[in-house]
Symmetry: C2
Subunit: 337 residues, 2 copies
Amino acid sequence: MVESRPEDAERLAGALAAGDRRALARAITLLESTRAEDRAQAERLVGALMAKAGGAIRLGISGSPGVGKSSFIEAFGLRLLEKGHRVAVLAVDPSSELSRGSILGDKTRMPELARNPGAYIRPSPTGGALGGVARRTREAVIAVEAAGYDVVLVETVGVGQSETDVADLTDMFLLLLAPGGGDELQGLKKGIVELAHALIVTKADGDLKPAAERAAADYKGALGILGPGAPGQSRGGAWRPQVLLCSAHERTGLDKIWQTVEAYRGTLGEAGLRDRRARQAKRWMWREIEDGLMAAFKSDPAVAERARALEADVGQGKTSPAAAAAELMQRFRGSRA
Amino acid sequence: MVESRPEDAERLAGALAAGDRRALARAITLLESTRAEDRAQAERLVGALMAKAGGAIRLGISGSPGVGKSSFIEAFGLRLLEKGHRVAVLAVDPSSELSRGSILGDKTRMPELARNPGAYIRPSPTGGALGGVARRTREAVIAVEAAGYDVVLVETVGVGQSETDVADLTDMFLLLLAPGGGDELQGLKKGIVELAHALIVTKADGDLKPAAERAAADYKGALGILGPGAPGQSRGGAWRPQVLLCSAHERTGLDKIWQTVEAYRGTLGEAGLRDRRARQAKRWMWREIEDGLMAAFKSDPAVAERARALEADVGQGKTSPAAAAAELMQRFRGSRA
């Protein structure tokens, strides 16, 4: 691809900050590149962009397929544009590493938003290395912020640990839920609810409106029973998660959602936001290291040769996990000495 | 201590399997040792014990302080002894690495069980290295199984990620909950509920009985709303978590709990149990490796010298997580080359 040829990181950063949309696209393509030779260049670019970044509110958005994520992002994004914001939409979709991904045709599924010059929609990166998708999205956030977008929506399809990743690279996490049909309440995916600062029941219009309202009341009840998060969890201290209703079709509930975003940001405060982001950045550093070390370990020929057999032995109870680990680490050290 | 002198692993394993309680105590002390020179001996011991292990049902037991864990384990353990089982009680208490621990005086808080020759109570190990407490408990499970105990209760105080650890080294995870006082329902600690195969409301006697019954009904409702676990979670596929009541004081509900354990084991089946344990063992192998690599990384002088400053830079947004990670990994490689 044209964008992956060597390019001056500082010049690219400058063009991007001056509002050049093609420079932004080239920059994100460089950040998404899985080619080892592009990585040093990508890191210089991030370095040049960081001073200009950080000014947006970063919102994570998740929800099961069919909940109406695209319609919500389209309606919410357009409302924010009307309010004078500039909106960027990014996506974390680990399934795109395997197939063509679940988030397809981002521009066609949010047609109005995609046409609006105040919005920037980036399709989810495809293909990639260990831990790569979340890192690249994290860096894309830096790029769109440096380009002046002040609301960044990071969408996830909820595969694997993508929700945890998105919660860990955004300021606030919104979980979309469909109104339960009939008496059945849609199951809340445990472990995800704890990440959410707001639950948003979608499709609160027409025939589904009563069901959506009942669902919202039930979710409120369930949140009450769940109680406050355990210490050390990602959700902010003083904030109590809210349950909200919206209709993308009738464009209702959107202002209330934005007010909730602002209320959350107010509760967090400047120092709280800085703290949250600092903790996130440090976790990403250690995660990069962990991923890097494990990748080096697993790709070490002396290790790879033996790991499969030892893992099978461990599974069958022939070797203890500790003994197998010790043998593999011995091999790893030996091959580097 | 006397137990840490070199000892023949095979002889110790033989004495332990023959029912020598002092050999069992010496074996666990060896497994718990944090002295590097004891580790090879400990691994030989585990190797010798593994063929004799695996015959017990392993139950994880968690619950907040004050919920009545000790009373429950005492009452439940005594009931199992009456049924002809042999019961071992182990504990995972990461707080004991810092202080003298929250699980203190195990023998005095379960006095009847401690006196019974059919039971074996091991106080939680104190002090230790990274990831150590859970590993040592995992190996202690092997030891008590080889010694013929057929029900192993692994207790956790619920500090840090000890609950996840305990769920990952047992076959079934029981979460104890106190009856909510008055109208207030005790908050369920999210992320833990998803691990539980059964929620047990304690103290269902006397004045608290109605509150316990109400709490059980409410928890049942909350579990219904939470829906089935996400794919890939630790809880077994076909099993629906149960909500049960018990009174340690009046010794009621204990048989029902044991029936639930047997029903769960039946649902899991022999192949399901073998699969669960095989997956657990493989995860422990990779976790040992991850912990070992990170420990080697963090204790590398070239890394340690620079890591603190870089972490601060990352927190302040002066350096990107990826760039900092790359620099530290470069140093790590350099110091090993």
